[in-house]
């Protein structure tokens, strides 16, 4: 069971306190109606599937409840870092 550092609680806690929440840094378009079908499709469905560093969102759902961002290596399943939502991509 992985230990995950919650940047809000500033503690490493067991994985079972957390929920995965998909790829990070995909902002909802400010005006979805202005997007073409292709652009909306890209926003809605197209995701990275890297071998290695992956930027993803987690929620400390059974803790402080906050969503945050993380960089995890998909090969080793190790977290490189976690940081607060709204902070720049690491």
């Amino acid at each position: 069971m992985i230990l995950i550092h919650c940047p809000y609680c500033d503690e490493k806690r067991a994985e079972l306190e957390f929920a995965y929440a998909g790829q990070a840094h995909i902002a909802r378009p400010l005006d979805p109606s202005a997007l073409s079908d292709e652009e909306w499709e890209t926003y809605l469905f197209i995701r990275n599937n890297p071998r290695g560093r992956h930027h993803e969102r987690w929620r400390h759902i059974h803790g402080c409840g906050r969503f945050f961002n993380a960089v995890r290596d998909t090969v080793t399943d190790k977290f490189e870092t976690t940081y607060k939502a709204g902070e720049p991509r690491k």
Binding site: M1, L3, E15, S33, R59, D77
Partner: protein, 953 residues
């Protein structure tokens, strides 16, 4: 037959005799014996039958690596444990053990016919033969194979034992308490670190237990550890898995070795989080591959040494050694020192260490260098061997009653591999050793590939003049895989060891190839003429040895398997004899049968009473979210499909929630209590999902909005009071709220008190009748329920359950998200266009409602169905076709989502998702069912009171 108890030696307690039975016969061993050592001492050589060919098998090893001697132990009803390795079973007084995979008896086994037919059972036999026809697989092949090629029987009774679980934390976790592990523990003990030392055996010592010269050191070391308050020692504890971040799973066996069962758990699951892990798991000796190497009495040299020096048991009167490694010679010398006769030492090498030769000479042991065993005589036990020069000449017989194999050593890297540490190939060892760690872990001792066992050569199959096609040279004893099978797999085109493994099943038995993986790899390497490193290594996965389901389940069984959520009113329903159903994790009353009523009769009565007078329903399980803050209305306006900003305080609105893909994910009626406060409701099963979705948008998309979301699902008990007499029942109980139709219309909310309890009183209806949903603090739920029941008695107030709720809502065409929708249904598909704010610039999912696939014709749409025969209640989930006469397989155009007998209408009603359903109004569709195809007309989903007259009273 040949094993016997040596007159002296070993760590057994010769003063304490232990009587036990094996296959119904009585035997005597000593305290400190394993089942294997005690049987061996009694002359038993035959321990089981092999998996596929039912060949007679004896002991190969002396511990967890043992592939053959799988036995069952029975301790009474529900306490039957199959597939235990006899080498790991600590003997106790009265033990009842049985062999497995034989019928009718171990010595005469009908399934052994498979062995005579062996040429018909090559690698991939199951894949190739039992392919067709499909129905034969279920009815014929699989049951026959299961009966013939089985492991032990699974117990049928409920396990009466219980199992404990605990978490532990330490600075240093040491796994394996042989000399290397004990040294590591002593070193760490001198610091102030917290240390846990675990070992799977009944006593610490590992290899030192079979080396009497080390016993004084062992005694001193164990005393030192016992005196260290910072060291926790766990014996009979198997570290079965190494998980992320130095999280180790281990099972401690607490009672299986005891003659009488104490109170307390049978096993304890340890979940250990360690700062540093030290693996000291040792190494496993490798068998040699030659014709007849599975004959009972052919075993690992190291195992023979363990039996002799730890348990005081000779594996034979006259024992031969087949070696490719020095360690076997030293084991043979140790046996000779214990008084065991050594018939000969055969070594595949032409040259060995002079010191070994000198010692063999001094002991008068015959030595054959550059020779190999090419055959074994005896079927149920070794009677002798045939050896030849490696060039095939000079074959001669040697009489012996046991044959030891010394094929070198395989470091035990299982846990290291679980932790995703990398491995490096050591050509000199012919083995993989730990390389780069992936966690804070290191290996010490033999599992790191460092040992003082001497040198050796790696041989895949011993040289033989015999026809390779006729050899029965086993690689994987438990799964009956021979060298020939692996070569066949290579000939048939398999190149990767992962594929060869699956095709031949090499290494896939319960021992996970502890003795077979490396030999299989060497044979494939030779056959492919490629280095081992190009073929790869199979992946080790937890568990290291099989563990009981009980240990893994722990307390999570029966009522504790998952929480059962109960409302404050639940106890009343139980006292009334309600029939319950689980909805999400909530236990909900499904119906309240009176004497003699079945479900249909009860539901019909409940429906009649709601429509004609008044019914009462526990709706406490509804999800509830309190939305508070200056931007609450703005937030809800963005989340829901319909407009929220203009909703006046005191009014309610039906909210439809989409995901960004445009599909319905939840719905519910919500109320505005104040400009900055809303009381949302969600479906029972959707509460957590909806809160998570809303939190996601609030925290990450619109963090500028000022509001709070709070789950209040369990804070309120909710009593739904529905029916034309609902207002009359409420009136005498409510204070501070004008219940008149003018002052308190449908879809409104008022705050006041009821029976003195503060309430949020909704006027809403999921039945189509005049209705109220009374929210009070949870703790008052049952009290209020009983007050209302008393007040409603004169109207024959009738409690109803979820089944009646479903029927009544279906009569009105109200959907249940998750039943009538399935994650692919848009508001338009569901006929809920009216709930979508056309003028809203944006809401979650709005853009998707204009996606090409969403606006394309032919989507499945929700419609009503009325069967031509009104007495037919369609099956929910039944498929719908447009033309019942088309050939099979028919094109299915939809399915029935909800279907009930409507007592109100005196006929059946149904809802269905049908392709282009909205344009099929009045048309016939067909529902083929076994024996009959039902005809139904597509209709509106509102079957009752379409104009809503019953609501506006």
């Amino acid at each position: 037959m040949t094993g016997y108890r040596l007159p002296t030696g070993g760590r057994i307690n010769r003063a304490a005799q232990v009587t036990f039975s094996f296959d119904g016969s009585s035997f005597v061993g000593f305290e400190g014996d394993t089942l294997a050592s005690a049987l061996l001492a009694s002359g038993v050589q035959l321990f089981g039958r092999s998996f596929k060919y039912h060949r007679p098998r004896g002991l190969v090893g002396s511990g967890s690596e043992e592939p053959n001697a799988l036995i069952s132990v029975s301790r009474g009803p529900g306490r039957f444990t199959p597939n235990l390795r006899a080498t790991n079973v600590d003997l106790y007084q009265g033990m009842e053990a049985t062999s497995q995979n034989r019928w009718p008896s171990l010595k005469f086994d009908f399934g052994a016919i498979n062995d005579r037919l062996g040429m018909f059972f090559p690698a991939g036999f199951y894949n190739k033969t039992f392919m067709w026809p499909r129905s034969f697989w279920e009815k014929l092949y699989e049951p026959a194979i299961r009966r013939m090629a089985g492991l032990g029987q699974a117990p049928t009774e409920v396990d009466p034992d219980h199992y404990a679980a605990t978490y532990a934390h330490c600075d240093v976790l040491i796994i394996g308490a042989g000399p290397a592990g004990i040294d590591a523990a002593l070193e760490a003990a001198a610091t102030n670190k917290r240390i846990i030392l675990i070992d799977e055996q009944d006593e610490l010592g590992g290899g030192a237990l079979s080396d009497p010269a080390l016993w004084p050191w062992l005694d001193r070391s164990l005393k030192a550890l016992a005196a260290s308050p910072n060291v926790t020692v766990l014996t009979r504890t198997t570290a079965f898995g190494y998980f992320h971040d130095n999280f180790i799973g281990a099972v401690e066996r607490l009672t299986d070795h005891l003659a009488s069962m104490p109170d307390g758990p049978r096993e304890k699951l340890w979940r250990i989080r360690a700062t540093e892990v030290i693996l000291a798991q040792g190494a496993i000796e490798r068998p040699l591959v030659f014709d007849g190497n599975d004959t009972p009495g052919v075993m690992l040299a190291s195992a023979a040494k363990v039996f002799a020096l730890r348990y005081g048991v000779a594996v034979g009167q006259s024992v031969a050694l087949m070696a490719s490694h020095d360690s076997g010679w030293n084991d043979a010398f140790a046996l000779a020192g214990a008084g065991v006769g050594i018939a000969a030492i055969i070594d595949v090498r032409d040259i060995v260490d002079e010191a070994l030769l000198a010692k063999a000479n001094a002991l008068g042991i015959e030595v054959r260098l550059g020779h190999s065993v090419i055959g074994v005589r005896g079927r149920l036990g070794v009677k002798g061997i045939t050896v030849a020069r490696n060039d095939g000449t000079a074959a001669s017989d040697i009489t012996c009653d046991a044959l030891l194999m010394a094929g070198g050593w395989t470091p035990t890297v299982h846990l290291w591999s679980h932790s995703k540490g990398s491995l490096a190939w050591r050509e000199d060892l012919g083995a993989f050793v730990p390389d780069v760690p992936n966690e804070n872990v290191r290996c010490v001792g033999a599992c790191a590939g460092t040992w003082n066992f001497g040198a050796g050569v790696v041989v895949d199959v011993l040289p033989t003049p015999k026809d390779p096609a006729r050899l029965k040279a086993f690689v994987d004893f438990q799964n009956d895989v021979t060298a020939k099978d692996i070569k066949l797999a290579v000939r048939e085109g398999f190149r990767s060891i992962e594929h060869i493994k699956r095709y031949t099943t090499n290494g896939m038995a319960t021992d996970q190839g502890k003795t077979s993986n490396l030999n299989g790899l060497q044979i494939a390497s030779t056959a492919l003429n490629k280095p081992v490193t190009d073929i790869g290594l199979t992946t080790f996965r937890p568990p290291y040895t099989p563990q009981t389901f009980g240990a893994l389940a722990g307390h999570a069984k029966g009522a504790l398997f998952q929480p059962t959520r109960k409302t404050n009113i639940d106890s009343w329903a139980e006292e009334q004899g309600a029939v319950f159903e689980l909805v999400a994790q909530w236990r909900r009353a499904r119906y309240f049968p009176k004497a003699g009523e079945d479900m249909l009769a009860a539901v019909n009565r409940e429906c009649r009473m709601v429509r004609s007078s008044v019914g009462i329903f526990d709706a406490s399980t509804l999800g509830k979210i309190e939305v508070v803050g200056p931007d609450a209305a703005e937030f809800l306006n963005r989340m829901y499909t319909n407009p929220w900003k203009a909703l006046e305080p005191g009014r309610c609105r039906y909210g439809l929630l989409l995901k960004e893909d445009g599909f319905i994910t939840d719905d519910g009626v919500s109320a505005r209590l104040a400009p900055d406060r809303f009381h949302l409701t969600t479906t029972t099963g959707g509460a957590a999902r909806v809160l998570n979705l809303m939190e996601d948008y609030l925290q990450t998309e619109w963090p500028d909005l000022n509001l709070w979301l709070t789950s209040t699902s369990e804070h309120y008990a909710v009593i739904a009071l529905q029916g034309p007499n609902a207002r009359k029942v409420l009136e005498p109980l409510v204070e501070g709220i004008d219940l008149s139709a003018e002052a308190f219309p449908h879809m409104a909310i008022r705050e006041g008190t009821i029976c003195g309890i503060p309430t949020r009183l909704f006027r809403v209806s999921f039945t189509g009748e005049l209705g109220y949903e009374i929210n009070v603090p949870s703790a008052y739920g049952r009290t209020l329920w009983e007050r209302i029941m008393a007040e409603g008695a004169r109207y024959d107030i009738t409690p109803y359950g979820t089944e009646t709720m479903h029927v009544l809502r279906a009569e009105k065409g109200f959907i249940i998200v998750g039943q009538d929708t399935d994650g692919t249904v848009t508001p338009f598909d569901a006929g809920l266009d009216w709930a979508v704010g056309k003028k809203k610039a944006d809401f979650v999912g709005k853009r998707s409602l204009a996606r090409p696939d969403i606006v394309a014709p032919g989507r499945k749409q929700l419609v009503g169905l009325l069967t031509d025969d009104p007495s037919i209640v369609l099956e929910e989930g039944a498929q719908i076709v447009a033309d019942p006469n088309q050939p099979v397989p028919m094109k299915m155009i939809g399915h029935v989502t909800s279907s009930y007998w409507s007592e109100t209408l005196g006929r059946s009603i149904a809802m269905a998702l049908v392709e282009g359903g909205h344009s099929k109004m009045g048309q016939d569709i067909f529902v083929p069912m076994p024996g009959k195809t039902h005809v139904a007309k597509v209709s509106s989903m509102v079957f009752y009171d379409a104009e809503g007259a019953r609501l506006n009273v």
